[in-house]
Amino acid sequence: MAEIIKYSEEDLVELLRSNDKSAFEYLYDNYSGALYGIIFKIISDHEQAEDVLQEAFVRIWNNFSAYDPSKGRLFTWMLNITRNLTIDTTRSKSFKKQSKIQSSEKAVDYASNNNNEKERFDALGIRNQVSLLKEDYRQIIVLSYFEGFTQDEISKKLGIPLGTVKTRMRAAIFELKKILQT
């Protein structure tokens, strides 16, 4: 059994900059699930979604020198790479040809059947907590943070003015912080 190591974000970034394999393994073990959850929200086909995840981690490794901690956290940066790659994939010709429509229930089943014992924290507990989030707030976070829609697109999708997108987003995150603190 490998001992469980917990890196601070600063240490992890430092090790990754020196191409440390075990740090990258830690990165994969702790974040692959969260990133995969986001990819699968957009591409509901496990085979294709897993290809994107694979590509995303290779990019994260190859472009690590481009990460600037002063602009945000490591996960935010990784998520941006992953989300852009996912959206690019859905726009590619080969994807349109073979894209399959799958129900979101399937994703839920898949998630609940896969206990990620390497999760940094009690995901199940947090799952229950975030389910308390109001539907309006959940929608706006999923559309922006998970699916990468622009403010314009969100305003059209939800039928709300552009200004409301900003205020609702702030309220949604405020609510999310509150839920996660209790």
């Binding site: 394999k21 990258f24 393994e25 994969y28 692959s32 699930g33 969260a34 990133l35 995969y36 959850g37 986001i38 699968f40 929200k41 496990h46 979604a49 897993e50 995840l53 694979q54 981690f57 290779v58 490794w61 002063s70 602009k71 945000g72 956290r73 996960f75 935010t76 998520l79 941006n80 989300r83 898949y110 998630a111 896969n114 990620n116 999760e119 940094r120 924290f121 995901a123 947090i126 799952r127 907590q129 975030v130 976070i141 922006s144 943070y145 998970f146 990468g148 829609f149 622009t150 403010q151 969100i154 900003k166 205020t167 987003m169 702030r170 949604a172 995150i173 999310l176 912080k177 996660l180």
Partner: protein, 266 residues
Amino acid sequence: MNQEEFISSGLLELYATGISSVEETRIVEDYLKQFPELREELKEIEISLENYAQANAIRPSSSVKEKVFDRIFPDATVTEEKNKISPVIPINRNPQSNLLFKLMAAASFILLLGSIALNYTYYHKYSNANEQLQIAQQKIDHQEKSNLAMTEDLNVMTNKYAQPVVLNGTPHAPDALAKIFWMKNTGQVYIDPTNLPQVPEGKQYQLWAIVDGKPIDGGMIATEKGIYHIQKMKSFGKVDAFAITLEKEGGSPTPTMDEMIVSAKM
């Protein structure tokens, strides 16, 4: 905007979720540079979003990790395997292990004996089961054959062209009876000999068709083993009468009139 106004503008949230416009992103990054204490504010937003993403995590299959690592560290797995040297386990020769060895050998021997006994019983059971299976198989075969014969019989009897002809017993054998199914379209003749008397040793029934006053051989009727099924005889286009005589085995060129058992005029 001062710091307070900046925080309440919601720009940090848009920036953290990745949907701030190019202009908004520039503003946020400027503020972060100018007021490093804002980074704490951003960090909190990012952590809550990160936790939300973790709450929606889905575990990918383990093959993805392998593929990623194979691509990033292509030589790693090979060298690791090369470096793996099988540990050498010294053979221990102290008396204690010798006793242990003896005990284990004894235990193995007992197990072997038990195994032989079990093998014997199971083989016995297996042979028995096999025998019974074969008997059952034979029964099924037999049933299948008779089913097939019955189906054939039914096909003849229910054929729409079949004209049934009843051959009644002669004074010679008043209880005898035979049925003929004569296919009007093809002239084929089928006979059902079920109600003919038992054939004496060395004898056989022969069918005759009387055409223009002359008896013509219609074929020998098979009655072996007592299973009488409808059987196909010779074909006739035109017949005045049918008759069955008892002849010596193999048949006779002319009918023995004294031994006529049944007959029917058309």
